[in-house]
Amino acid sequence: MNAVWLAFIAGLIYIVGWRYYSKFLAERIYRLDPNFITPANRYNDGVDFVPTNKWVLWGHHFTSVAGAAPIVGPAIAMYWGWLPAMLWVVLGTVFAAGVHDFGALVLSARHKGQSIGTLANRLVGRRAKLLFLFIILILVLMVNAVFAWVIANLFISNPSAVLSVFIQIPLAIWIGYTVLRKKGNMLIPSLVALAVMYGAAVAASYIPALQIDLVRWMGGEEASGVLFGLDATGSAFLIWIMILLAYVFVASTLPVWKLLQPRDYINAQQLVVGLLLLYGGLLVTMPSVTAPAFNAQADTSWFPLLFITIACGAISGFHGLVASGTSSKQLDKETDARTIGYLGAVGEGTLALVTILAVATFFASAGDFHDAYSSFAAAGAGGVGNFVGGAGQLISGLGIPEQVGQTIVAIIIVSFAATTLDSAVRLLRYIIGELGVEYGAPKLSQRYVATSIAVFLTGLLVLLPDGGQGVGSGGFLLWPLFGTSNQLLAGITLMLVSLWLYRQGRSPLPTLIPMVFLLTMTVWAMIQQVVFNWSGLGEADTQWLLFILGAIILGFALWILLEAVRLFRNPEELKRLAEREAREAE
């Protein structure tokens, strides 16, 4: 089957969803009012609250939410075949992610641009705020651990990409110093930076001396006893993760305009470049799908694990944080929320879709696919590598040599993951600081103390769990936990939107159904993982770290479900909350 047909069918479903379902949501469920004065106009301060053009805000929202996660998740989930992954990505985007992102944006705009955390505190009570803070803490820790491993893994498997990634740092600092202080335009300098990076990628693809290949430097894959008795690959993982943690410490403590802002500016353009290259390559090469629709040889059932393996790209709680944290403060008209929220989710869905298609067309035969995806653990360890290979193959249709294409794709993924890593460590720093203030330990809110704790915890989480692939393989083991905590966050957001709709006397079904589905799948998957895979009750050995973290997340999931049921069955309390809200609105 031709992959272009799959892309065409999925695109058609996205268009229908956008054209009709989001219109139904806007008119009948969220009832957007063009005359409503949005927080951006009401509190316009030129800093946080700034009315922004609809398409500018959509672009920003899309580039904020689309990162490495919609690549990593689907690349792993291809283990069950392309059909389950594609159905979840397409239908999840149309009926869950679009509703969720759109709803979070409207809910926040209707509540003075407050974030989901604050809204949870107000709409549900203090318990929810505590719950929310801990879920974010765990989610952010997972993100750090998983992405640190993803970057180290890509550096080892694509040594030609390392130089470009390292070149980006001084280039970004140069842009930050020369352009930002003068309030100049960053477009030209950032394009120059991109050209230099990709030029270095081309050069490194052909000149082995420019490839920073730690494994080769330490004597090749067969070398043993290099560092602490580890083999060369294990030692390379250890060194890269240490370098990454040191970099993240520096990057997240620097003022944002010195490195983070110009680097994100360059990376956002890489998203555009990546999508154009991949879809352009798909249309030109028109590859056949060689992966099976269903993997009959899978040793792990797709149900319900699929729904936590693919979070970003189908539905992700992180989008709710972005929608309510920044985008809602910049909404010019309430009616713009449909474009920004719903279409932003569709944008990320297209990235997840092209990931699936790149992996599905990568293999020469179904036999090769089964070799690469021999077990769920192998899918976790090799999923991203398979995407890089498949993407390189697609890009080669545009006349770019496959080796260069693979290097460029590896650079794009590393850039996304590094951006997320920086932001996540900064977020972790704020959360640790907030907890410090809450529990009377003001020292914790100091920049260097909080960052040190954040980086130390991340390192611990990457290096401690034994993924069976040597040092640092804890990252892909944590992926199901990352998916779970992300889906929980989405569940909380959908619950808040449902409660708000219910109190307004409107039908909460469009948000309630995805919420129940999502939380049921999450709880189901977690019980399966925690009880049978990590507790030691089944055939597998006890994995204490995963068991403890999983049990905590499972407890949170059940807690959220109980809170939701309690509130829906207690109209008296809902009425009190509505009255309090009305008083505050005055």
Binding site: N41, G46, V47, D48, V50, P51, T52, N53, W55, V56, L57, G59, H60, T63, S64, L180, R181, N185, M186, L187, S190, P255, V256, W257, L260, Q261, D264, Y265, A268, Q269, T326, Q330, D332
Partner: protein, 91 residues
């Protein structure tokens, strides 16, 4: 809402919007950080009125015409509702 800084030429406008789109993520934080740095600088310039000796006040005096525009916003951010300087009556 129309952005007063938007160019009229369609291509220039598209590029301007693209630039805004990419900047938006950190814009508020950057504005805050740059403002904090400026606040510190102004504080050093006007430290004498807060009782902190300024050994280079003779030289910082020369800067007053250049920073007078920002002075009003600054003293309000510092929690001083009225201008604390007799010879600068901005409010």
């Amino acid at each position: 809402m129309s952005d007063p800084d938007e160019p009229r030429n369609p291509i220039a406008r598209w590029l301007y919007r693209y630039d805004r789109m990419l900047r938006l993520g950190h814009e508020a934080e950057v504005i805050r950080e740059l403002r904090d740095e400026d606040d510190l600088f102004l504080f050093m310039c006007f430290s004498e009125m807060l009782g902190v000796p300024n050994p280079v006040s003779y030289h910082t005096l020369e800067l007053y015409p250049l920073i007078i525009e920002e002075f009003h916003e600054w003293h309000q951010r510092m929690g001083l509702e009225r201008s604390p300087l007799d010879h600068i009556r901005c409010c």
